[in-house]
Symmetry: C2
Subunit: 364 residues, 2 copies
């Protein structure tokens, strides 16, 4: 389903040049916005008039006891979360829950390098941490909706990083947590991998230290970045089985261009680099002076830690090591030839298994 | 031991600029050379006065029945093969065997883009395939030494690709074969990975389509390439356990720079790209019209297919799938946190296990 949509909105070069056509209500909406005014950041900077974009599904109950928060992952928006995870009869069922899909800072819909007015735009956009996102999301949840307790916070990849940060920072507000395919504190290997993603874009001379006039000029860097993402984001088995044939791709090269490059080419290079720097630096132990055990021990939510086996970004054993440090938690695993990028919702078996875990958790 | 040497020859920027100081007898010797005259290539090109550099250890028996051939891997030369695999009491024991370590075309000691005179130098160096290497090596073995039967052909990574090509192309000349951590035919995923290595160098504007005047100017591309190599060449566990501490490195970044960047920075970008293109295109089924089963069925050598578990370049399951197609073969596995790059000889447990396999094979 997600792919059908992706295909129907494939773009010509001319369309890509319409800089903000991509980050639009037409493609990613409907979404709403919440303005937080000036927002001080952990690393000392400030975002002027921070705006969070979000989409909601379902109806908040009078007791406000049916809310689920699902933050976005790297390069994703509320739209792909909706397509991949929400539906009648699914775990995230809008006939039962009030589901808030929130776009993280820098993803192009919420405040981001590309949509911030000069002089704080582009390369001058300040440094942001996952903790900033979660503090801002907490204000959205409490001030906009008056919700004090979330039935569930869940998310994949960088969404898992935000989920962990929520559970550590606001333990009383999170009844259940489901970090999927992500870590509370990045490993040295994961940081190296993310650095290579950043370098793939930043090495393009057209990037110009972030001061490009036309983001489509940075397409070589974006393509390289997409190819690195594909090389470790999908599993080798997917390539062996040509698992993309059902989506209409013909060869491995056709798939990597048609899926991975197609996904990243219309996005803003500075936005991606900002997101990647948050990914690289994510670490809940920033809340506890560097003590990861102490940070994870703070979590009071019932937690299902969900890992994708053979995930090339976040290996199962790293996820399992953190799970052991979380009091009321269980490790749940799911296998997919799509590797980390099964998150995108392209594998029906993955969707079914993760839905079952989330249903079990919500019923607990 | 290898690392101690690497450390003792760490270089200043000035030294790196002495273009051929790296590819020298002083660093990689002693080695000898064998000239083959003009050599026609599979893809239609020609190398003028093809020269193979090689080093030998031990004494060839009067019956010429104690010879072992060990071709070089990507970015390696005879020197690292010697340091990592040869020694009294080891499988490759020079008191017992006559061991030929041969440098593949393009590695900087044998004919290569950087050491070929104009006009066929640098970016004009012709396209080479693994089959070209093996035909040239066959002439070295038969014409220079008069050897008709090799007791063993063994090699790691691209050395495994050459080992497979030997066993398929010259089955009567190969009594035993030990391809280590490599495939007879690259998978689509492996080709994608190697493409990202090539792009990491070729994307550096200083590379200038291969026409750089000074290879040290391409250091940004070489560093990016080294970081990609480290991100999938070593296992995530190595980073978690800081397994490099015993080698004197302090942090993950210090290790990646001091080990991986240090290894690649003095090398020639065009040489590396030529080697990588051979790696990418390696496929023994070129000998059988694309039929991999038919190609592997030609192998008459007793073969130990050795795989490194959690190898990020050549996954165990891909290696195992090929092994099943080789008549007189067995799959042998070895585990190392160093991942694919355990090949370098840095892990004593790996060295011991592989030695045991090679001894068992040589005794058979």
């Amino acid at each position: 389903m997600v792919l059908a949509r992706a295909s129907s909105r494939s773009r010509t070069v001319t369309e890509v040049k319409l800089a903000d056509a991509y980050y639009s209500q037409e493609i990613h909406g409907p979404y709403e916005t919440f303005s937080l005014g000036d927002f001080d950041l952990e690393d000392g900077g400030k975002i002027r008039n921070l705006t969070l974009a979000y989409a909601t599904f379902g109806t908040l109950s009078p007791k406000k006891d049916n809310a689920i928060l699902f933050p976005s992952w790297y390069s994703g928006t509320n739209k792909i979360l909706e397509l991949a995870y929400i539906g009648e009869g699914r775990a995230l069922d809008p006939s039962r829950y009030f589901i808030i899909l929130v776009n993280q800072i820098g993803n192009g819909l919420s405040s981001s390098p590309h949509n911030t007015p000069a002089p704080f735009n582009a390369a001058a956009f300040p440094r942001v941490q996952i903790g900033d996102d979660v503090r801002a999301q907490h204000r959205l949840v409490t001030q906009k909706f008056g919700i004090e307790n979330l039935e569930l916070v869940a998310g994949g990849s960088m969404g898992a990083q935000q989920t962990y940060e929520w559970a550590v920072r606001f333990p009383d507000a999170v009844k259940r947590a489901a970090p999927i395919a992500g870590l509370a504190k990045g490993t040295a290997h994961n940081r190296l991998l993310v650095e290579t993603f950043i370098e793939a874009i930043a090495s393009d001379p057209a990037w110009d230290s972030g001061w490009y006039a036309d983001r489509s000029a940075v397409h070589r860097g974006l393509r390289r970045h997409a190819r690195l993402f594909a090389a470790s984001g999908f599993s080798p088995e997917l390539f062996n089985a040509a698992g993309w044939r059902g989506l209409g791709f013909t060869t491995a090269d056709d798939f990597v261009r048609g899926f991975a490059e197609n996904h990243f080419l219309p996005q803003d290079p500075n936005n991606l680099i900002l997101l990647a720097s948050k990914w690289r630096d994510a670490d809940v132990s920033r809340n506890t002076g560097g003590d990861l055990e102490a940070a994870l021990a703070r979590i009071s939510a019932k937690t299902f830690v969900i890992a994708i086996e053979n995930d090339g970004f976040f290996p199962l054993q790293d996820i399992a090591a953190e799970q052991k440090l979380i009091p009321k938690s269980a490790l749940k695993t799911v296998s997919s030839p799509w590797g980390h990028l099964a998150l995108f919702g392209v594998d029906a078996a993955y969707n079914e298994r993760v839905d079952a875990y989330l249903k079990e958790l919500l019923a607990a």
